[in-house]
């Protein structure tokens, strides 16, 4: 499979932006300045980016509590995201949502979600909009291995099939729901579940951008062509705790180190693209440093940004009331 240079560069930039964003949040959280719960997507970047590479702005995604990566991959404003996480009025949600509720409907981003399994039903609706409004769009639900057991998710697989919706169910399987292993919590297999709800099943290694890109391409094309929904099962590893503050005693001491060493989507991407002469190391270096600068600026801007005002408390509960 040939991938155009600009897509490669864009994808690398997105993955690097997510990585930098998350690593920086990890450091910043430790200072105590970031309020609330923060769930990092580090190590899973290729999934969001490989999937979203096939989506246009009018396609729709729904995300999870671990949503920063999906937001960035779908094009949500990074500075606005950072400000949101800091609870500033310049945040994409004016500081009223925080990390778990970043959304940008204008960019087809239907929201991170504090409710496990909250997204899949919404995505059935977004897919229905695409179908009835004939936008040629698809709607993509990202959800975790833990969420793959929620009734809302399972019902949505069935509903999407019954309505033959242009929906893509991306099960991001990082092996854990909080501190519980998927091997404990998920009986059977995702593959059989896909069959159980009458949809094609795709799977791939989520640390390999090229594998995700290719498999997601097929899966999304199927849904977009009107043949009904699909499931894409992405195998991943999360590099930090469930949320910031989690000591991760339930994981073998070298599990994360191993993943960082052997399953780093960014270094794999670099090795492959430079090795094959698709991209030059220098271009990637340029991206790395541009991203670093951008995130630094985003953090500084967020810290300096104004807080919400009293009137924001009562605002936007309703369109009219």
């Amino acid at each position: 499979m040939q991938i155009a240079r600009d897509i490669l560069l864009h994808s690398y930039r997105s993955m690097r932006t997510i990585r930098e964003f998350e690593e920086r949040l990890h450091t910043e959280f430790a200072t105590g300045e970031i309020p609330g719960f923060v769930h990092l997507y580090c190590g899973e970047e290729a999934s969001a980016v490989g999937v979203c590479a096939h989506l246009g702005e009018s396609d729709t995604i729904a995300s999870t509590h671990r949503g920063h990566g999906h937001c960035i991959a779908k094009g949500v404003d990074v500075e606005g995201m950072m400000a949101e996480i800091y609870g500033r009025s310049t945040g994409v949600c004016r500081g009223k949502g925080g990390s778990m509720h970043i959304a940008d409907l204008a960019r087809g981003m239907l929201g991170a979600n504090g409710i496990v399994g909250g997204g899949p039903p919404l995505i059935c609706g977004a897919a229905l909009s695409h179908k009835l409004l004939k936008t040629d769009g698809v709607a993509v639900a990202f959800y975790g291995d833990g969420a793959s057991n929620e009734g809302t998710t399972l019902e949505s697989l069935n509903l999407a099939s019954v309505w033959k919706l242009p929906a893509v169910f991306v099960c991001e399987d990082n092996g854990y729901g909080e501190a519980t292993g998927a091997s404990y919590a998920c009986a059977g297999t995702q593959k059989d579940r896909a069959a159980g709800f009458g949809m094609p099943y795709f799977e791939c290694d989520g640390s390999d951008f090229f594998a995700v890109y290719e498999t997601a391409g097929e899966a999304i094309a199927h849904a977009r062509s009107g043949k009904g929904p699909v499931m894409l099962h992405v195998h991943l590893a999360r590099w930090y705790g469930h949320f910031e503050g989690d000591a991760m005693s339930y994981r073998a001491s070298d599990e994360v180190a191993q993943a960082r060493k052997d399953h780093d989507c960014l270094s794999a991407f670099r090795t492959r693209t430079t090795g094959a002469g698709l991209l030059e190391g220098a271009s990637l270096d340029d991206i790395d440093s541009a991203v670093r600068t951008r995130i630094e600026a985003a953090v500084q801007a967020a810290k300096a940004a104004p807080l919400p005002e009293q009137e924001d408390l009562m605002r936007d509960v309703y369109v009219s009331y």
């Binding site: 729709t60 004016r94 949502g97 959304a103 909250g118 039903p121 919404l122 009331y321």
Partner: protein
């Protein structure tokens, strides 16, 4: 203008709005009926009590969508569709089933706009039947509007007659916020004159169905009719009542309630929902805080007891507020003498 049943009024509202705006769609369990059946007849039911009958035939399978029996996913789908350009009217059948899909209503649809900093619009209507009197027992007879009223981000409509139902449903469909629209299942065959053309009744504007000087009655949904009957009976004894139908519990027309209590000085609230943390307590608290000065007597509530809805007819009758109990409550506040006066 012609006589229409509550059922017809709702059907007509849906039909007219679907004709007017192609983004309005319907979904729910058997809102058409017959998909996958062996006779090939579709639009076989038009809803479990026939309220949406004929809409599938007119608007087809793209706009009248039968669903599997999976409330969480299709109510959530309705929310997702509403946030992305459609204007879905989703039918939950019995409001008692909200326990299967509350999250999508309470944490998703109701909160999108606020959580997302004002960037979302969720023009969603959820229709559902409520109420006792049908021998449908504990899991098919609840009122539950207090639960929706409690949740910021939702609007809640409880129409009291066919005329009200049509105008309020059209308003609900045109409204840009998530609206819970509750239909008392015992009223579907009630009839009255209802305009043939589309019209709207604004939310948050109470309707005074009787005006009087002695006691203010606030009643919701089916209870409005009971309150009017009680008022008519009381009038014969020279007790004159104002009867307020707030129409929507959220937003609530507090101003009208407070004005009327300011005039009458006495308040009785009739609410068919369970008595704790319900609309009767809500209105009582409003008045005890903001019209305290005007009050000449305790605020009386006429509600069911704190029990599930029983099955047997005799018990269900005892359970529900009735005209006699409303009358008695009014007489008791009329007869009230403060201890210091007595």
């Amino acid at each position: 203008m012609s006589k229409k049943s509550f059922r017809q009024a709702i059907n007509e509202a849906l039909r007219q709005e679907m004709r007017r705006d192609p983004r309005v769609i319907l979904m729910g369990e058997d809102v058409a009926g017959g998909q996958g059946g062996s006779s090939g007849v579709t639009d076989a039911w038009g809803g479990v009590l026939g309220v949406t009958k004929g809409l599938y035939t007119e608007f087809g399978p793209e706009r009248v969508l039968d669903t599997p029996i999976t409330e969480a996913s299709y109510i959530g789908a309705a929310a997702g569709a509403a946030a992305t350009g459609l204007r879905p009217v989703a039918e939950l059948m019995f409001v008692d089933f909200v326990g299967c899909c509350l999250d999508q209503i309470m944490n998703q649809a109701a909160k999108f706009r606020y959580m997302f900093g004002g960037k979302a619009r969720t023009p969603l209507v959820i229709r559902a039947m409520y109420g006792a009197g049908f021998n449908a027992a504990a899991q098919h007879s609840q009122a539950l509007y207090p639960i929706f009223t409690h949740i910021p981000g939702l609007k809640v409509v409880v129409p009291s007659s066919p005329y009200e139902a049509k105008g309020l449903l059209i308003e609900a469909i045109r409204d840009d916020d998530p609206v819970i629209f509750l239909e008392n299942k015992v009223m579907y065959d009630d009839e009255e004159e209802v305009p043939d053309e589309a019209y709207t009744i604004p939310f948050g504007e109470a309707n005074l169905t009787r005006e009087g000087n002695d006691v203010t009655l606030v009643a919701f949904g089916r209870m409005v009719g009971f309150a009017n009957e009680a008022a008519d009976r009381l009038a014969k004894d020279g007790i004159s009542c104002t009867v307020i139908d707030p129409r929507t519990t959220s937003p609530l027309d507090s101003a009208t309630i407070l004005d009327c209590v300011a005039d009458t000085g006495r308040l009785v609230i009739v609410d068919e929902s369970s008595p704790r943390c319900n609309m009767a307590t809500d209105v009582a608290a409003l008045v005890a805080e903001e019209a305290f000065d005007a009050l000449k007597a305790p605020i009386r509530r006429v509600t069911p007891p704190h029990t599930p809805v029983p099955f047997a007819t005799v018990l269900e009758k005892l359970y529900l507020p009735d005209v006699g109990r409303i009358e008695a409550a009014v007489r008791s506040v009329m007869g009230y003498k403060a201890r210091q006066e007595a």
